[in-house]
């Protein structure tokens, strides 16, 4: 469904090449790859930060890095992994797969989509520019006030963090608007909401969470900015301000954020398991309703991150009960996934193994989470390595395993080549072993009293051995990712060519060539059920065991009538001027004014680019 001017189909059925074509692309598939590559690079950076921290903690009273450096490392590790690693890796899949899975040709706003990416990239670079200027952020990834005030954080480190996150938030929200409209409004004929693939449902819930939760952190950061730049009193105890206001606003964002981080992986697993078990997802409606419930009630549990601040017994109890309630829809999903395997015919591909790993590890992370839901218990666990273990089990064992499963699953579709399965299995087992060796002992370390965010510890507390073990595990994880890089390198040139449907899968993206043509579907399909491709191949009991009709073969006339939006440089230009304006806040007011005016001007040009599209071809 085109939104802008026609192009000459003859010249653009093949994707253009060259740097400029990537800079001006508005094709969701290319944008997905841009997100994916960027996310992977930042994930590696965050990983290096983790390795340095683990080396520092491998032995007590270590002097590998200073206290200040360590504090910067854990701040940037957390910020990078969450905002520049997991979220954009999810965005890579939203971008590439959502139109394909709903039978659309692109997203609702292709240029806005590109804009989201370029704003994301500028936010990521802005954040990392702090390293160049020698002031990387050091307030922790959740930047509690009033440590982040000008008084206690006088350098610009917190400003980089604050403004960087603001920029990243804008990128996420723009993408959120785009995908909600796309999923609501651009589904192929016959695809009712309940016929959407579960991955699409999870994506939809995630986008609602993004657009409704990010405003809270936007406000939190604005109040911090005003405190630091203009002397307001929002988080200033001396002026009557309450540092806890930051915590409330941050966690009103922060808790939905963790669902933003996990639901995409849950969506991926919900696609991978049925494909390789050769059965539909068990209880797909339940899984969908659980996702919606989690999204909705996820806004009501934020203060379970604040059980130690002294909110009083009524608030503590209310949030405790709400948190336990939310564990129910989260937990039963696991049973749905396992039940999907029952009676199946399981092929142990790499993608499948990573999804299995997800289930196993997320179960553990979820159980430690239930412990945290009880404030009395949590008072011994919060701010210790026990909670560090918990969130790494859900974010790494959960999100990362799930996202990596998606990489292996959809790689053939995106790049037209199969990844090497043997190397994939090496990757899986190394990651599984490395991950557990790193993080399982951290439960123990937390239970014997090791607090988090400490750059060193005394030698006589019984923490030495398992810290060393944990460090070794971290290097095994690193090795596992090297395996993946070797796999990519080897197969890009000489890997087996992937056909449209190498896995005998169930959903629409596997009905088109690998990689897809720039227009995705030559003929927009009509959808008869949730696993439309499976219905076309095999049918099921609702179709009387007969396959449903396949769409007719595409003709040249079909392709000739397709209109796709042409490339545009306004997204990157607008993103650049926005960065100029934001940078000005740290450099000079003139830059803010200039950047602001240029931003307004390029917003106008962006909006007017297709105010009057040229006459259509027919």
């Amino acid at each position: 469904m085109a939104t802008q001017a026609a192009f000459m189909p003859g010249t653009q059925t093949k994707a253009e090449t060259g740097l400029w074509s990537w800079i001006t692309t508005v094709d969701h598939k290319r944008i997905g790859i841009l997100y994916g590559v960027s996310a992977f690079i930042f994930f590696l950076i965050g990983g290096v930060e983790a390795l340095i921290m683990r080396m520092q903690l491998a032995v007590p009273d270590n002097t590998l890095v200073s206290a200040q450096r360590f504090n910067e490392l854990f701040t940037m590790h957390g910020t990078t992994m969450i905002f520049l690693g997991i979220m954009p890796l999810g965005a890579a899949f939203f971008n590439y797969m959502v139109p394909l899975m709903i039978g659309a040709r692109d997203v609702a706003y292709p240029r806005l989509n590109a804009l989201s990416y370029w704003i994301f990239l500028s936010g990521a670079l802005f954040l990392h520019a702090s390293f160049v200027f020698g002031v990387p952020p050091d307030g922790g990834w959740f930047g509690y006030a009033n440590l982040t005030s000008k008084q206690f954080s006088p350098t610009q480190s917190i400003d980089f963090w604050m403004l960087g996150l603001q920029i990243l938030g804008i990128a996420s929200m723009l993408a959120g608007f785009n995908f909600i409209v796309t999923i609501i409004n651009m589904r192929a004929p016959g695809m009712t909401l309940m016929r959407m693939p579960v991955f699409i449902w999870m994506t939809l819930v995630v986008q609602f969470l993004v657009v409704l939760a990010f405003p809270a952190i936007t406000v939190a950061l604005i109040l911090l900015m005003f405190d630091r730049f203009f002397g307001t009193l929002f988080y200033a105890p001396a002026g009557g301000g309450d540092p806890l206001l930051w915590q409330h606003l941050f966690w009103i964002f922060g808790h939905p954020e963790v669902y933003i981080l996990i639901l995409p992986a849950m969506g991926i697993v919900s696609e991978v398991l049925p494909t390789f078990a050769r059965k539909p997802l068990f209880g797909a409606p339940f899984v969908i309703y659980s996702g919606i419930t989690i999204g909705f009630f996820g806004f009501g549990v934020w203060s379970h991150h604040m059980f130690s601040v002294g909110m009083g017994p009524v608030a503590d109890s209310a949030f405790s009960v709400a948190t336990m309630l939310i564990a129910v829809p989260t937990g039963v999903k696991i049973l749905n996934w396992i039940a999907t395997l029952w009676g199946g015919s399981i092929r142990f591909s790499s993608a499948f193994l990573f999804s299995l790993g997800f289930i196993a590890m997320f179960t553990m992370g979820g159980l430690s989470g239930v412990m945290h839901a009880s404030p009395p218990v949590d008072l011994q666990q919060t701010d210790t390595y026990f909670v560090v273990a918990h969130f790494h089990y859900v974010l790494f064992g959960g999100s990362i395993f799930g996202l990596v499963s998606g990489i292996y699953y959809w790689w053939p579709k995106m790049f037209g080549r199969m990844l090497d399965e043997r190397l994939g299995k090496w990757h899986f087992w190394l990651m599984m072993i490395g991950f557990n060796v790193t993080f399982f002992p951290q439960h123990y370390l937390g239970l014997i009293g090791m607090p988090r965010r400490i750059y060193t510890y005394a030698p006589d507390l019984g923490w030495n051995f398992w810290n060393l073990v944990s460090t070794i595990g971290a290097f095994v994880i690193a090795l596992s990712f090297l395996t993946f890089l070797v796999n990519v390198w080897r197969t890009q040139r000489s890997g087996a060519v992937a056909g449209p449907d190498p896995w005998d899968a169930r959903t629409l993206e596997w009905a088109i060539p690998s990689p897809p043509p720039v227009y995705n579907f030559a003929v927009v399909p009509t959808v008869h059920g949730r696993d439309e491709l499976w219905l076309q191949k095999h049918g099921d009991e609702h179709t009387g065991g007969k396959p449903v009709p396949r769409p007719p073969a595409a003709t040249a006339a079909d392709v000739a009538s397709i209109h796709l939006p042409p490339p545009s440089y306004w997204p990157i230009v607008l993103a650049a001027f926005m960065s100029m304006m934001m940078s000005g806040l740290l450099v000079s007011f003139i830059l803010v004014i200039a950047g602001g005016l240029l931003t307004l001007w390029s917003m106008y040009k962006f909006a007017m680019e297709y105010h009057r599209p040229p006459a259509e071809a027919h």
Binding site: M1, A2, T3, A108, Y109, M173, G176, F177, N178, I180, V181, I184, N185, M186, R187, A188, P189, G190, M191, M194, R195, V211, L212, A213, F214, P215, A216, T218, V219, A220, I222, L223, F226, F230, G231, T232, L233, F234, G239, G240, G241, D242, L245, L249, I252, V524, T526, H528, G529, R530, H542, T543, V548, H563, L600, Y604, H611, R612
Partner: protein
């Protein structure tokens, strides 16, 4: 998940045919741009909700400085509220005229809307100046100062953005670049404008009127 019935397919096919005609209309029959604006407004609700929540949590907790009762100019802000309400009316009239291809009338109504908005903003500038110069209430005087100026300031910024947006339509209309084809685009600006009006009603009630 039942098989396709004839009725279902026809309805869907109809929507698809319509969509082929106007690429902005999706398979649900809704316009992409309107859905997008509604979602954005939902998000903006959370934004203002957080700012209003901040104001309310600090109400009565200032350690000094002028109090709301001392500084608020209710007649002025009531007039401002009336201005915005009036501007929502002119906005609707502008859209009505546009739909009927009365471009000049539409441009005048859009201009009136923008001017009402501009008047609102100027009132606010006057109000802020009074607070600062006459009462000594600034951003850093007290919690009231901080939360009041940030909340109402961001609302004023939203109004300003809306004024600029509307004036752009006026400019395009004057250059003959606005016609009934652009109805949805202007309607979307109207949705934004009404939202900004409603937020002001909420702010006016919660911050100014309730003691």
């Amino acid at each position: 998940m039942a098989g396709p019935g004839a009725h279902g397919e026809a309805a869907v096919h109809g929507a698809a045919a319509h969509a082929h005609h106007d690429p902005n209309i999706g398979t649900t029959g809704l316009d992409n741009r309107k859905v997008g604006m509604w979602i954005f407004l939902g998000s903006d609700c959370m934004f203002f909700g957080s700012l209003i929540g901040t104001y309310l949590s600090y109400k009565g907790k200032s350690l000094g400085g002028p109090t709301p009762a001392e500084v608020f100019n209710i007649p002025l802000t009531s007039y401002s509220a009336a201005l915005l309400l009036f501007s929502s009316l002119t906005m609707v009239l502008a859209l009505d005229a546009l739909k009927a291809n009365r471009i000049k009338a539409s441009a005048w109504w859009l201009f009136a809307t923008a001017m009402a908005g501009l008047h609102f903003v100027l009132n606010q500038v006057y109000e802020f100046a009074e607070f600062v110069l006459h009462y000594g209430l600034t951003l850093h005087t007290s919690l009231f100062g901080s939360s009041f100026f940030v909340l109402t300031g961001f609302h004023g910024a939203h109004v300003t953005g809306g004024v600029i947006w509307l004036l752009i339509w006026v400019g395009l209309a004057m250059r003959g670049k606005l016609d009934p084809r652009d109805y949805t685009k202007v309607e979307v600006a109207g949705l934004y404008w009404h939202f900004v009006d409603i937020v002001w009603i909420a702010i006016f009630t919660i911050i100014y009127l309730i003691p």
